[in-house]
Symmetry: C2
Subunit: 620 residues, 2 copies
């Protein structure tokens, strides 16, 4: 066994503070150096000192409207019934922004001026300085324009330029270097062999750093060799403000990050009470902060947010960017270990682990979770408007829903169709509980041989549910290419030596299997692997493709995606269940229109194993 | 008079739709062309087609923890009192991410493994696939990874790379060209002469375009010459996806934008029902959309948000970025003209027109405003966390508050001191109404000759108010350099030929003037300019510097800032009024610490005209 450096569950805030102290003690700079840049080059940078106005804006009393400049006193008494007429010497035509001519102190809008010959006719009196923008109205000389530590936006640099600045004192842009490590890690573009993984973390962390306003560089991948890693770290810290070492941060055999940091400099923290992201290394080498990030991508991304972002903002002397938050009601119970800040990726109403997450919810270390209905604060990863136009589908998974999601977005960038796969039964329960707009379902009632409707009655009860047919699709056994075991159907599953990959309880495909097993009078106990559950057709196909099993019930499209063979078992309907209110809502209208479009139907047919004959038909 | 093209108050949504139709009719592309870029170069760009996974992630069953890989069946029966011992052939040491060795189906965390010689001791049984990340658990082959029209973030491109993508099909980055026009407009860096202004709009609009993910270029400034502008427009549209012409968009003499657009292409809209930002031109020339933006900077910035941003997002096939919103309670009545969407810059609790605004509030065209206490939705321009650590000061203006604001920020980037200048009296009323944390006040009670306290009693009544002295400061007459009129004090203001610049009612300086006039038995009517009000010391100094008046009462620092002369009148205290609760709050603690710091006191003394002898003293 390799020797194990200490791993402690240091709470995140305490870990950050310890890192900060260690960096200060190791001679890391408190702030980045200040430099003068042209206002044109200052966007996104942070002020290194206050910006005082050296010029007023507007720089003179100016017309605030297009019209004529007058002396207000000359207009006294003007009324609808008794207009005042100004001779040409009594007014000047001005455009918005023009300086007020000498002797004038008000502007009359062109829309309110009539002419009698060259005399201007006014039917209302004007007050002094009406429609005049006074000198210094926006900014006066010597006024504080921007404080130190302010991240410059477009309007800031324009205001600074208007107030006389041609250059601004800003903090140098932070430089972040990413050092990937690991024998099994291959660069993007190289096809990974068995047991190897692609280095996507370097790209992600460097991009996160750029999104945070930094300059970022990625080094070549170093193998699990402490001497080589140490050499790379020593060289890297000389040229950056933060070094991120990827992977090698837990306590396994090949995890040298903590050891290298301790040997070359100061190891402040190894292991934080954050889930996911637990095996984090925080330290300093050669006067440069060093962060060791875990190799699991979700953890690596979170580690950047929690540790790198505040450090980099501090170096620039500004506040870290914070994502907007909303208050949400938890739809289901959420358990969480004590002693860890638990960062949960959430989707409106449901907990999910997908790429397209709506937001992040933190369960603090001191809580064991939340009860359904509790108010929680969610950090938004997508815009609230976009979330509002998201069709939430919970239930059975089908590739046609993926295809629809992409087609809907291509038509209207504001529309999102987000699917969570919890099986047909779970979908109907979620629809009943108001957690989704539609539930994909293909539930066979063994008693009647009827699909969907008996379950809708049973679960949604008196609720006003509507059912729209999506497709008919072929279900069958997904088997290895060439069908090496020569399987012909469900009855062969009881044979010895067939490793089956099952779907989870509540999935329509699981119920179809149970129905078919009963029909063939096969006990589930006779099926090797019956207890091993996967949650999607694609996961079943992936398991067969990986040789982890010999057969699993699923759809033809999933078999095709993995280049596998397929033994047909049945053709079944797949339906979308919605509430009566949702059926005619504007939110779902684009979906119904899509189902009627012949190009979409052709694309579905092209997937193989689908019939679109009844697509869009209202079953109830 | 110049001929006037039509200006119509077209509602914003209708104007956008008309522009969109006109662009389509004029042959502008609906979407930007698609191109394949390396995943490394795709951040911030928008997908031009769906991204399907071509590789599963993880690509194999992998250890989810550091520890040992085992066969779950071998651990059955393990318990604290009856451990199971696995021989070396019965386990493999694995690190997080390692492939599961053949024959193993679960992982035991290293923390839960003890060793007896080379045998692993387990005290609990493990379930199959415990701590195993299944092949395809994150993404399975053929799964929809990202839809079309998705703006790529760091985690998206990393997920795409993990799923096998080396390149992504994205929309080309939109190119925006900005064409500034106007005889009076000078480039940044050139000192503007009388009546001239600096072209800050080009920089601002180009930066806004870059913030929106575009490539942006600025052309040289064209004078108000339709033939030259037309030539520049014709050349520019060939090389960009959106041309923004700055200024020249209203209906004044020199406003040629609308005419040029109509002559060269299609003029869709001229004038929108949005305030500020009314004189907008929307059209198309040579198959390229053209936007004419008003020259007033606040209007120009808003025009980009309302019109350019949605157009550019549409070209990229994605949703426009939207800022986060919060719900706020209006603190005071807000009037707004019917028929215009009125965009109001707001500060927490108060309406303001400053650079550092917290958010935007839209009063729709159909409303005449809001009542105090009404719930409104505010679009946030700053982070909610930052707003929460903002000390809001409302009341009299003093440069020492500006200096304090900058010093506080330099110490802690999260702290903001935001001042609104409404005069001493207004500040006490705002404090009473709970709209601010502190009120700057220098109110002289003519009856007693006492400052601040009598007014605190009168306005805050029984409320538990505390008073902290900020400074003593010199008040006097701000006069032109060299004091050409030879003014010696208040008594000279009644003299003929002295044009006075007054402060607004409720300002402490206004009350000081009234007090001094009464003392010298001068009637306000005898003071020329008594009715002309400015709202800050600096505005008074600016007016004197511009020659708009001969004298105004104000502080020495304001006179110095403009290089003016100063005739002392009195030395007065300037106090900060706070509630008893706020006095000891953590929010204000950094301010009290600052007032005690000798470096800060030295900086204040350096401004001139201030005494810091009683700085920070509790008067009550």
């Amino acid at each position: 066994m390799a020797d194990s450096p200490f791993i402690r569950d240091v709470p995140a805030a305490q870990a950050l503070a310890a890192w900060h102290s260690a960096c200060a003690a190791a001679g890391c700079p408190d702030r980045l150096p200040a430099e003068r840049v042209r206002v044109e080059d200052a966007a996104g940078l942070v002020t290194a000192g206050p910006v005082w106005a050296t010029r007023s804006s507007p720089p003179f009393d100016a017309a605030g409207m297009d019209g004529i400049a007058v002396r207000a006193a000359d207009t006294i008494g003007a009324a609808e019934t008794s207009p005042v007429y100004l001779p040409p010497a009594g007014y000047d035509v001005v455009d918005t922004g023009d300086p007020l001519p000498p002797g004038r102190d008000a502007v009359v809008m062109r829309e309110h001026v009539h002419y009698r010959g060259d005399e201007a006719e006014l039917r209302t009196a004007v007050a002094p300085y009406q429609h005049v923008r006074s000198i210094g109205e926006d900014v006066a000389v010597a006024e504080l324009l921007l404080p130190e530590g302010h991240r410059l936006r477009a309007t800031d640099i324009a205001a600074a330029a208007a107030a006389g600045a041609t250059h601004l004192l800003v903090r140098r842009r932070p430089v972040v270097t990413v050092l990937p490590t690991g024998d099994e890690v291959r660069p993007i573009g190289a096809e990974p062999g068995t047991g190897e993984i692609t280095d996507t973390n370097s790209l992600m962390l460097a991009t996160q750093a750029r999104e945070a306003g930094c300059e970022a560089h990625c080094l070549p991948i170093e193998p699990d060799d402490p001497a080589r890693i140490a050499r790379a770290v020593r060289a890297a810290v000389a040229g950056c403000d933060l070094l991120i070492i990827v992977a090698g941060s837990s306590a396994g055999r090949d995890d040298y990050t903590a050891r290298v940091v301790a040997e070359l400099g100061t190891l402040a923290v190894h292991g934080v009470a954050v889930r996911p992201g637990h095996p984090v290394v925080l330290g300093a080498v050669g006067g440069t902060p060093v962060l060791g990030a875990p190799g699991y991508p979700v953890s690596a991304a979170l580690t950047f947010d929690i540790f790198a972002e505040p450090l980099l903002a501090g170096l620039a002397g500004t506040a870290p960017r914070r994502r907007p938050r909303i208050t949400a009601r938890l739809a289901r119970k959420l358990a969480s270990p004590l002693g860890m800040d638990d960062w949960i990726r959430v989707r409106l109403g449901v907990v999910t682990s997908e790429v397209s997450t709506d937001g992040l919810l933190v369960v603090p270390a001191g809580l064991e979770g939340y009860h359904p209905g509790e108010q929680v604060e969610v950090e938004l990863l997508r815009g609230a408007d976009e979330i509002a136009r998201t069709i939430v589908a919970i239930g059975s998974h089908d590739l046609v829903l993926d295809l629809a999601a992409s087609a809907l977005r291509a038509q209207d960038p504001m529309v999102t169709l987000a699917s969570s796969n919890v099986g047909s039964l779970g979908g109907l329960v979620a629809l009943r509980d108001g957690l989704c707009h539609l539930a994909g379902s293909h539930l066979l009632d063994p008693a009647t041989g009827e699909y969907t409707l008996p379950y809708v009655d049973r679960i949604l009860g008196g609720a006003d549910a509507r059912v729209v047919r999506l497709v008919h699709r072929d279900q069958g056994l997904i088997v290895a290419a060439g069908n090496p075991l020569g399987l012909t159907g469900i009855k062969d599953l009881a044979g010895a030596g067939v490793r089956y990959i099952n779907r989870q309880r509540g999935a329509g495909t699981r119920m179809l299997l149970d129905h078919e097993l009963a029909r063939h009078q096969i006990s589930p106990d006779a099926v090797d692997g019956y207890a091993r559950e996967e949650h999607t057709h694609l996961a079943v196909a992936a398991a067969v493709a990986a040789g982890r099993g010999d057969a699993g019930l699923g759809i033809l499209a999933a078999a095709r995606a993995f280049g596998l063979d397929f033994v047909p078992v049945t053709r079944e309907p797949y339906d979308l269940v919605v509430t009566a209110a949702a059926l005619d809502s504007p939110l779902l209208a684009p979906l119904w229109a899509l189902l009627a479009a012949s190009e979409f139907q052709a694309a579905v047919t092209g997937l193989g194993g689908y019939s679109t004959e009844e697509m869009g038909r209202r079953i109830r």
